[in-house]
């Protein structure tokens, strides 16, 4: 009952406030329409000047810069400087940069050299070189005229390909070129007719036996030249 009376009271209040609400709504609708027209005109200008439809607000820009700075602070990453390998075989090479603290220690056989040359693929795909492979000096790569394999190539030598005989038949070739030179349909050979003595059948007669029994035609060259 109390809720009903509350709803009744609200009903009276809303009836009184409804005209003001309608006026406010109409004002905002008109403001929105004017803003739409204004934005439409601006968007034409933005289109021809190559800007975004809604340019970044100064507060948003400040927020973005702040977030980028925070991310850079949390995840410091060395900036690789790509260097083109003139040898043509090893792809792009670059020299990893190290902090100054790394150079305080003298390089010993136990400790790896501070400057290490790595392929760009290892950096991009975060592939770590194998530990047993000695790093290549950047200077040696630049000075050697002959093409030098990169670290990646040394770590991962190309597997020796097995020699495949020429007469190897690939079922994929048959599928792709069913009537190629190698895949011409073979005509069925006619079966040789076997002449056998009368009274014998295929099961009891063999053409090889013919020579032993001196029956039929026996051709040999034993007496060649004696006649």
């Amino acid at each position: 009952m109390v809720d009903l009376l509350k709803a009744f009271g609200r009903g009276i209040l809303y009836i009184l406030c409804f005209p003001f609400f309608l006026v406010a709504l109409a004002i905002f609708a008109v403001i929105g329409l004017l803003a739409f027209i204004f934005q439409l005109i601006k968007s034409i200008f933005y289109f021809f000047t190559g800007q975004k439809f809604f340019p970044e607000l100064p507060e948003d820009k400040e927020l973005r810069l702040m977030k980028e700075a925070e991310e850079a602070k949390n995840n410091p990453q060395p900036q690789p400087q790509p260097q083109v390998n003139n040898q043509g075989q090893g792809g792009l090479l670059y020299e990893e940069t190290y902090d100054e603290d790394d150079f305080l220690e003298e390089p010993t056989p136990e400790t790896p050299l501070p400057r290490q040359q790595t392929t760009i693929e290892e950096v991009v795909f975060e592939e770590e070189p194998a530990p047993e492979v000695a790093p290549i000096q950047a200077a040696s790569v630049e000075e050697t005229p002959a093409p030098q394999p990169t670290v990646e190539e040394e770590v991962k030598p190309e597997p020796v390909k097995e020699l495949i005989p020429d007469d190897h038949e690939d079922p994929l070739d048959d599928f792709l070129d069913p009537f190629g030179e190698d895949n011409k349909p073979v005509e069925e050979e006619e079966e040789l007719e076997v002449y056998r003595p009368k009274g014998t059948t295929d099961d009891t007669y063999s053409i090889d036996e013919d020579d032993d029994t001196d029956s039929g035609v026996n051709i040999n060259f034993d007496d060649w030249g004696k006649r």
Partner: protein
Amino acid sequence: MNFNLLIKLTENDKRVIIALLFAIILLFVIIGLLGSLIVRTMRWQGKKCDTLVSDVVTNHIVKTPHQLRKYAAKKNIRHFLKQAWIPIIIILVGVGTLLIRNAITKDWSYDLLNYNNGTKNEGGTGFGTLLWVWDFKDPDSYTKIWGLTLLAKWPPLVNEPHFSVDAIWCYVYIVCMVVGGTWYFIAAQAYLARTIRAIKLSKKVFEKSLDNFDQNTPPQQPQQPNNPVQPM
């Protein structure tokens, strides 16, 4: 004393008055419930403002209520434009349809609610062809009670819903206007709700309260859990 103002009510009059009272109460209750629904909807729509401005506020980029209101106004109008461009296009399509129809027929005195061409349930060039139409001008449907002209009976039906090919322009126009207009006003209501929310936030976020502050109370020292004080 003069009791001329007293009205003698019959039992039937009392019943009518009680029924009328209940009807009015019910009407206000329904209006109150509808109003509560609108208020809740606007509160929910206004929550979007929090999403739009929260990053900037939580990172302390805006530092004054004025800055917050200004920034929220920009974000709100942009969000409104993103919400309102579809209904505006729908409305423009409707208006364009009507203009094309008028240009083709060269009839600029077009009655949008025309329901027939003088024949019942046939023809018609307006949206009224899809509606029930009663003849409220029929004088036989009215009567006079205590000097007031009141509707005595349901007026005669002059049109039943029927489809008319001639009115197809008007169908498109009315449908586009109703759908686009409703959509647009909902977007405008959301814009109004976000603006109200932004004003509330600008007051609330930067509010400083001294309700629980007592200057005579010394500030509490933070207790260090690693070095507890040993009793002597």
